[in-house]
Subunit: 304 residues, 6 copies
C-alpha cells in the first residue's frame, strides 16, 4: 500500500503516534501506528510504499486498519507509488482522443482557438491533476475524467434541446475547472497554492482566457469570448459558492447543473464503495452531510 | 388567437377593462381591452378563439398587444381552442411508445408492476396535463413531455455511470410528477385542487403508490417499494422546496438534478423565444428572477 | 441501574474501554469503564441491570460517574430492566382512559372512525414507544404522554377560541406523531427503521390514513379527510423541518405551536433536572444549542 | 360606519380620490371615492361617522365597497366613533377583574410589586391601546385582550407542567407588550412614536421596570427582577425578531410560544371572517404570506 | 433643470404620459407630465435642459413635482446639461492632485507601477464616471470622489494601526472600483454594458491587472501582485455580494469596511437631503430598505 | 509567565493533567502538564506567576509549549501578575486625557451630561475591563483602548463628512460598549455575569442612560437622549447580532461600521502575531472562521 498521508501526533500518554491514510487501487483506509519511534517517523513518510498486516475494524462507524506489522517494500517488491494510486477508469490516451474529437464540434473560431491554446498550455497538468483536493475525483487524472464525464452528458443535452450552442457548451465544459491546475499543487499531497487561496480557480481561468486572447490577437470585445468567460465564471451557479456572477446564459445554467451532477455522483459512488449493502454510508461533507443508503441487491424480476 | 385568460378589472377612471392573455402556437402575449362593455365581457371569455388586430408594443420591457379591433371567430373560420394551443413538440403516440419501451428496462418486478398500474390509472391525464400551473412546460402534454425529456437524460446517466439502478431511476422519473394530475385541475385554465393545495403532488403520488401496492398485493415492506417511494418523495432535493425527506439514494439525487435541469432549460427557452437577439429576457420568477441573454447569432467558424 | 447503552471503544493507550450510559428512574448518567477485558464486554451489555459504585464527577461541565466497582444483579436482587427505566408520569391505563374520553368529542364521523381505526391498529406501540429517539420524551410511553400533554393544551384552546374545530384539532393531535411507531424500532435501543429514514413519520401516517379510508370505505375526496391529512402533514410548521406543506388551516397552525411548546418544555425540564440551582444547563441541541438557567429558589413573598 | 383611515391620492387622470377604510363592528372594508372635491376631503376624515350606500365587490380577490352615496351622520343619528369600532369581546371591567385576580397568584414580592406599579402607571393605556398597529388585535382594548388570552393559556401550562414559576410566567405575560403603550400613539389612527421607532417596545418596558425598581427601592440585582426583565426582553424568541437576548429561562420560552400562538389565531380568525366557506383567505403578511382555507361546515356526525 | 430620465408610459385612461426625473444641483425630483402629445415626447427627452413651473407635493411620502408649465431653454438661457448636474464636491484638478500625492506612498514597486499604468489607461473615465448606476455616488465624477473619500479614511487607519501595508491598502483602494469604467456605459443615462452584466467590475479589474503585468513585464507570480489582486477581488466582503473570494488579508478586510462605510454615508446623506427635519426619509434600497430619521436641529449646549 | 487559566482534566489513562494557558507580554501559549499530582494542582492555579522551561511545538498547527520543568516564582523574583499581562499599548493616563479632551466636542448638553455621569460612575471599570471575554481586545484596559481607537476613526469621519453630529457620534462611541462593565466579571478570568447572560450589555447601558437621566433630571422625552439611546442600541447593526433595533440614524450606521472595523483589525492583528510570514493564521472564530495570510516582508521599492 501507499502511504497517502502521515501525520505525527501526540497521544494522551504523551507518546508520539502516526495517523496514516493508506491508499491502494481499491480505495483508502486510515490507521494509527502507536508508540512510534523516531526511526518509524522517518521511515514511514507520505509517498512511501509499505507492506502492512493488521485487522480491519470499525471506529465510530468508519473502517480503520488496526496495524499489527508494517514494513517498507523490499528489493524486488513493487515500490513505485503510481502502482497503488487510484486512477481515472479511462486511459489517458483515450481521454486525450475524446477531448480532441470534441474540439471539432466547437465551430466558433474564437472559442475553438482559445480552448486549443489553453489545452496545449496546460496539457500535462490537465491530464494529471485531481478535480479537487478532497471532495470529488480526488485522484490523479480526476480533472480530465470529471471533464469528460460532463462532456458526455453535455452531448446528450445538445441532442435533446435544439437551442443550445455546442461551441459555448463544450468550450465551457472543457475550461470550467482547468484553473484548478493553478489553484492546486499537483496530484500528490494536493494543497492549495497561494494563488489558489487568494484568487481561486474561477478567476484564474478567466485570467488565462484573457491572456490567451492577447496572445492569439482575439479582441476582448468579441462577443463569443465574453460569453465563454461568463460561462466559466458562472459555473458554480450561486454567488455564495464563489461565482462572481450568476448564470445569465442557457449554457451557463446547463454547465452548472452537469458539473454538480457529476461531482455528486462521484462523491456518492466513492462513499458507497466503502459501505455494506443494506446500510448507510458515512456522512458526505460536500453533500450537506447526508449519508446515502446502499440497497440490498435485488435479483432482477423477483416476485413477491 | 385563443384567449388564455381574461381578467376583468376596474381602471382608475372607474370603467371596467379586460386584461387578456392571448395564446397561439408561437407563444403568448398580453393585451388590455379598455372601456369594456357588459357584452364584451360576456363575449370574450377564456377559452374562446378570437381574431384581433393591433400593434405589438413594449410596456416596461414586456411585449404587449395594443388592441385596435377584436372579434369572435366567424362561421367557416377555425374556432377550436386546440388549434391555437402550444403543445409538446412530440406527438402523443410517440410519447406513449417511448414510455412503453422504457418499461422493459425496469427489471425490478415490484417497481415495474406499480409503474404500469399507475400509468394505466392516470393514462389520459398523464398525456394531457401540463407539468406545472405556470412555471415550466405549462401546456397540454407538458407533463409527459417533461417526463420523457428527463428519461432521455437518465438513459445517458445509466450508460455513463455503472452503479446506477435503471429500475429505480426510470421508475422514479416516470412517477415523479404524476401526482400533478391530482394536484391540478386540468390542461386549460389550470388551477390547484383542494388536495393540491393541502396535500401536494409529492405526497399524493406516495399515496397512490401505497394504494397500488394494496391493489397488487405487494408488501409495503418490500425494499424496492420503499426505495421507489423515497426517490419520488425526495425529488425536490431540499426540504424547503417541499420534499419531506432529503435524497439518501444515488438515484434520488440524480432525478433531483435532471428534473431541475429540464425545467430550467424549458423556462429559459420559453423566455428566450420572446427575446430579441443581443438583449436580455424578462426576469424568470422560477429562476430567482434572473434574466437571460440571447446572444447574437454568430456564423459558424467566423474569423476575427 | 440499567445499562442503557454500552459502546466499546479503544483508548489512546490502545486498550479497550466501555462507554456506558446508565439509567435509573431518577435519570441518566454516563460513565467510562477503563481497561475492559473480554469478559467485561460480554457481561455488561445494553439492557442488563447492574450494581455500580463510584463517584459522581463533572467532566467538561457534564456529570459523569467515575466507576469504582460494578457487578451484575445477583439472585434475589431486582434484575428486570423495566424497574429502572424512566417512564411517563401518568399510568398507561389513565392515558388510555383520557384518550378514549377525547374520542367522544370528535364529532366528525370520518375523522372519528379513522382515528379509532388507527389507535386500535397501533394500540400497543402508541402506549409503549418514545416520542423521539433522543430529543424529547425519549422514554417508553413518551409518545402517548406527549400526545396527552398536547391534548390538554388543545382543550384550553378550544375553550378560549370559538372558531376552532375540535374534531380536527383533537384528531390531528392524536395522530400527529403516531407514524413514529413505524419510523422507530421500539422503546429500547431506539433506532430509525429503513422506512423511518427514507419515508419519515409524517408521510408514513399519511399513508396509514389513506389505507384506513380504503379499509373503512371512506372516500378519499371527503373534505374532512383531506383536512385531517393536511393537519398531520403540516404539523412541523415549516418545510425545512420536514413538512411537505405549510399550515393552511387554523387547526394545523395551532397543533404546530402546541407540539413545539410541549417538546420544548420537556427538553428544558429534562436539562434542568441535571442542573444545579443558580447555574446554566448543558446546551440543548434541539433548541438551537441554547442553555437554560435554573433560578435559585426564592421563598415566596420575600422582601428586599 | 366609521372612517378608520382616509388617504387622499391622485388618480392616473390627475384627479384626487380618497382611499377609505371603513369600520363597523362586523369588521373592515376598503372603498375608493372617485373625483373627490375639496369639500369631500375636508368632510370625510378619519374618525368621522358616515352613512354609506354602495355595492360589495371583489377587487383582486379582496372585498371592496363600491361607493354610490355617502354622507355624514345627521342630528339624531348615532355619531360617536366608539359605537362603530371593533372592540375586545370581553368588557373592560371583566378584563380588569381577571388581571387583578391573577395578581394574587404572583407570589414573588418584587415581581408582584413591579407589576402592580406598572399596571397602575399605564392603567388607562393598557385597557385602551391595540396590541399592534396592524397585524393582530388592532382594535381598542386589543392589548389587554391579547394579554388576557395568553394568561388563560398560561394557566393551563402551570397546571400541566409542575416546574413552571407562576410568578415569573404571569408577571412576564402581563408586562410583555405593555411597552406598546409608549411605542404607539393610541387606539385611533395608530402610528409609531419616535421612541417606538428608535427604541422599540421591548427595551421601553425594560426601562420602565428599571425605573419602577428605583421608585420602589428594589435592588436591580434582585434575581427575580433580572429574571422578569429577561422574560420580557426574550419574548420575541429570536434575535431577528427584535429580542436582544434569546430565551434562557423556561418561562421565557413558554411566553414566546403562547404570544405567537395567540397572535396567529387572531390573525387567521380575522382573515377567515372575511372569507367564504370552501375558499382560501387573503394572504396574511404576518404569517409569511400564507392564505388559510375556510372549510365547508360539516354537519356533526355525518355519515358517508 | 435637466431632464435626467424621461419614461413614456400609458395611463389607465390609455393616454400617454411622461414620467420625468429632473435634476439640478440641489438634487433630484420626479414629476409626471399628463396627456403628453407626440411633440412633447420628442421635445422633452433625457439630457435636455428645461424650464418648469409647478408645485412640490408629497406622493406616498415622496416629494414630487406637480408640473403646471414646462418649456425648453430659449436662446440666451443656459442650456448646457453640465450646468445642472450634481457633481462631486471637489474639483477634478484637486482630485487628480490628491491621487497623485498618494502614489508616492505606494512604495511597493510592482503595485506602484500597475496602479500608475491603470490610472493612466482609464484616466478620463475614472474622473468622469459615477460610482454606481443608481445606489451611491450616482453622478459624474462620483467614482473618483468615492475613491478619494475612502483614501482619506484609509490614511487614518494607516496612522492608527501599525501593521497595515500602505502600498496594498492605497493601491487596493484606488483600483477597487475602477472596473466600473468598463462595467457601465458612462456618466449620463448610465447602463450596464454586456461585459458589465456577464463578467462584472470585480473580475474586469482583475483582468486589467493581469494585462498590465504582461505589458509591464511584471511576473504574475510576484507576491505583491497576487495580494493586490486579492484585495480587489475580495472587496465586496461576502461571496453573496459578488466577491469570488472572501477577504484573507488584513488590508482586504479594511477596504471592504471603508468601501461600505463611504457608500452608506453617501446613500443616507442623499436621502436625508430630501427629508424634512423631525421625520423619516424614504426607504433606502441599498440599505435593506431602512429609512433614516433626520433629527431636529438642536442649538448647541441647550439646557433642559 | 502568568498562568492565565488552569483546567484540570482526566487523561485517557485516567490520570489527571492540567491544561494551562500561559501569558506574558509577548502573547499567550497553551501547554499541558501531564500526570499532575494533588500538590501540582493546588500550587499552579490561575493568576499565579511561574517559571517554565520547555520546548515550543506545533500541535495541529497551533503553537504549544511542551513543559519540561515548572516552578513558582521564588523570593526576589518578580511575582506580580500585572507584570506579565498584555495591556493596551497606550498608558491609562493618556487614555483618560484623550477621552476628556473629546468631551469638549460633545456640545449637546444632555448628551454631554449623561456621558460625563456614566464615565464617572464606571471610571474604574472602563479603564480596566477588556472589550470582550475572548474575541477582541481581551486584555485589561481593552475596553477603553477599543473605545479610543474608534474615537480616532470617528474624528476623521466628522472631518470628511459635513452632516455628521459630533455630539451624537462621540457620545455614542464612548458609551457603546460601557455596558460590558456590567456584563462581564472583570479583567481576570473574565466570565459573563447573570445580568450579562440574561440582559446583555446593549440593554444594560440603555438602562444606565435611563437612570442617569433620572438622576440628572433630564426628561426621557428629550430628543437628544432618544437619539443617544438609539445609537447605542443599534450599534451591532443587525438584529441577529443582538441589536433590538436596526440603525435609523446616520451616526448609528457609522458607529456600527467603525466598531466592526476596529474589532476586526484587532482580531486579525492578534492572529497574525502568532503566524509565520508566508503562511496562514489559525481560523478566527469571530470572523466567520476565516484564516488570514501573513505576507512575506517585501523590501520597499523592489524591482523584478
Amino acid at each position: 500500500m501507499l502511504i497517502k498521508s502521515a501525520d505525527v501526533r501526540k497521544a494522551k500518554n504523551n507518546k508520539p503516534f502516526i495517523a496514516f491514510t493508506f491508499q491502494d487501487k481499491s480505495g483508502q483506509i486510515d490507521g494509527k501506528f502507536w508508540d512510534a519511534k523516531e526511526e518509524d517517523i522517518n521511515r514511514f513518510q507520505a509517498g512511501t510504499v509499505v507492506f502492512v498486516s493488521g485487522k480491519r475494524e470499525l471506529y465510530q462507524n468508519n473502517p480503520q486498519l488496526r496495524i499489527s506489522k508494517m514494513r517498507l517494500a523490499q528489493a524486488g517488491e513493487p515500490s513505485s507509488p503510481e502502482l497503488y494510486m487510484e486512477r481515472a477508469p479511462i486511459r489517458t490516451e483515450d481521454m486525450i482522443e475524446e477531448i480532441n474529437q470534441t474540439l471539432f464540434e466547437i465551430t466558433s473560431a474564437p472559442i475553438n482557438r482559445v480552448v486549443r491554446y489553453l489545452l496545449k498550455k496546460f496539457h500535462k497538468e490537465f491530464f494529471d491533476f485531481p478535480a479537487a483536493k478532497r471532495h470529488h475525483h480526488a485522484f490523479p487524472g480526476g480533472l480530465s475524467f470529471h471533464t469528460i464525464s460532463i462532456l458526455r452528458l453535455a452531448k446528450t443535452v445538445v441532442k435533446n434541446y435544439p437551442g443550445v450552442s455546442q461551441s459555448l457548451l463544450y468550450g465551457g465544459v472543457i475550461l470550467h475547472d482547468i484553473g484548478k491546475t493553478i489553484e492546486l499543487t499537483g496530484s500528490l499531497s494536493t494543497e492549495y497554492t497561494l494563488k489558489g487561496n487568494l484568487i481561486g480557480h474561477i478567476v484564474l481561468i478567466d485570467e488565462e482566457i484573457t491572456k490567451a486572447c492577447e496572445a492569439l490577437k482575439i479582441s476582448e470585445d468579441n462577443e463569443d469570448i465574453i460569453l465563454l468567460k461568463h460561462v466559466v465564471l458562472a459555473h458554480h451557479g450561486k454567488m455564495e459558492y464563489g461565482s462572481p456572477v450568476l448564470p445569465h446564459l442557457l449554457e451557463a445554467e446547463i454547465i452548472h447543473y452537469l458539473d454538480n451532477l457529476d461531482a455528486s455522483i462521484n462523491m456518492i459512488d466513492t462513499a458507497l464503495q466503502r459501505t455494506t449493502e443494506g446500510s448507510f454510508s458515512e456522512r458526505i461533507f460536500g453533500l450537506e452531510n447526508r449519508s446515502f443508503y446502499k440497497p440490498n441487491v435485488t435479483p432482477p424480476a423477483q416476485t413477491e
